[in-house]
Symmetry: C2
């Protein structure tokens, strides 16, 4: 295997990738949803805790259940996307630590006894897995539109009632209509946000 990513791959994932706004009328092959997961699942999480839970909305009927929770600016994006993923977090993720982290199963209790640590770990690690989701989708040739502009409590009630899962963020996926992309925003320079000690 090569030891670095070539420039075309860097363009695909980083330097020329753009957030999708609206999408072309082109469906996402159902098997790609599984392929996204089968790439993203390998990314590292704290104690391999893997708290992300994903609901893929693939039909107009399923997306219609999400629309009342979305902020106005995101409704057209959701309607335009062939698939919308709800990236959720299992607040009881620690129940699975004995399985996922077998050399230190006692860490289950650390989180059972410390709600603050459990919440921060669920949020941090489901978010980091959400980033792996974005990169996995891009690796498979899909465009993504991650969004946090929605009513989390309402989504939780609609999709995660009776469970310990809470929504984290949404991500539209499909093939972007590049004509609808926003101008790319500026980024900080290295010196603005990095220090070397």
């Amino acid at each position: 295997m090569s030891s670095t990513l070539d420039s075309n791959a860097c363009k695909l994932l980083f330097t020329e990738a753009r957030t999708a706004n609206l999408f072309l009328d082109k469906s996402v092959e159902p098997n790609l949803l599984r392929e996204i997961y089968d790439l993203m699942k390998w990314g590292p999480t704290s104690m391999n805790c893997c708290p992300a839970r994903i609901v893929f909305l693939t039909t107009p009927k399923a997306k219609a259940r999400l629309i009342p929770s979305a902020f106005d600016g995101n409704v057209a994006r959701i309607n335009s996307a062939p698939v919308v993923a709800i990236i959720g977090q299992d607040m009881e993720f620690f129940q699975y630590i004995p399985h996922l982290y077998p050399h230190a199963p006692e860490n289950k209790k650390v989180f059972e006894d410390n709600e603050f640590a459990a919440e921060a770990t669920a949020f941090r690690n489901s978010t980091i897995q959400g980033a792996y989701f974005i990169f996995a989708a891009r690796a498979l040739g899909l465009d993504c539109g991650p969004m946090s502009g929605f009513d989390n409590a309402r989504v939780d009630k609609e999709f995660f009632g009776g469970t310990h899962v809470k929504s984290n963020f949404l991500c539209t996926i499909g093939y972007a209509d590049s004509a609808a992309a926003f101008p790319r925003g500026p980024r900080f320079a290295f010196e603005d946000v990095c220090q070397v000690l």
Copy 2:
């Protein structure tokens, strides 16, 4: 540019990448720190808010300032790593929204007026940028050891005193000693954690 990532690149970033435990005695070229940032900065954040702030610890003296804050299990990892990055979050990130998100500068006020939203946005988006950091480092041939086992408040006092930055997580970088890797942990199957509606 190619529209999908080839299998070697998928191995490098996802399927064969492993979390680094201990490192070889091989330094990280200083310019690679800048290259990591210049890749990761392009990843999407909410309203392009870019809240991540990074401190690279590249000398034994700088790492020694971190050691008292680290949980016992992470001390050897920090000592072994040629570079340790502190991934921080600027809790006043919204001050820069008029620059970073010029088509909606008024969103600065949304966060000024809502501390809960500001904190969640800083945490979520600095974390997602931390994931981009990991993938950028891997893209450049480096191995990473992300860690959240440390005393955040103590790190904040030591490295971010007098600023609005708080630590999120740590990430060692370098060239891993593969002999010191842990056995890979299991992952959930698609059916365990994903639903298709």
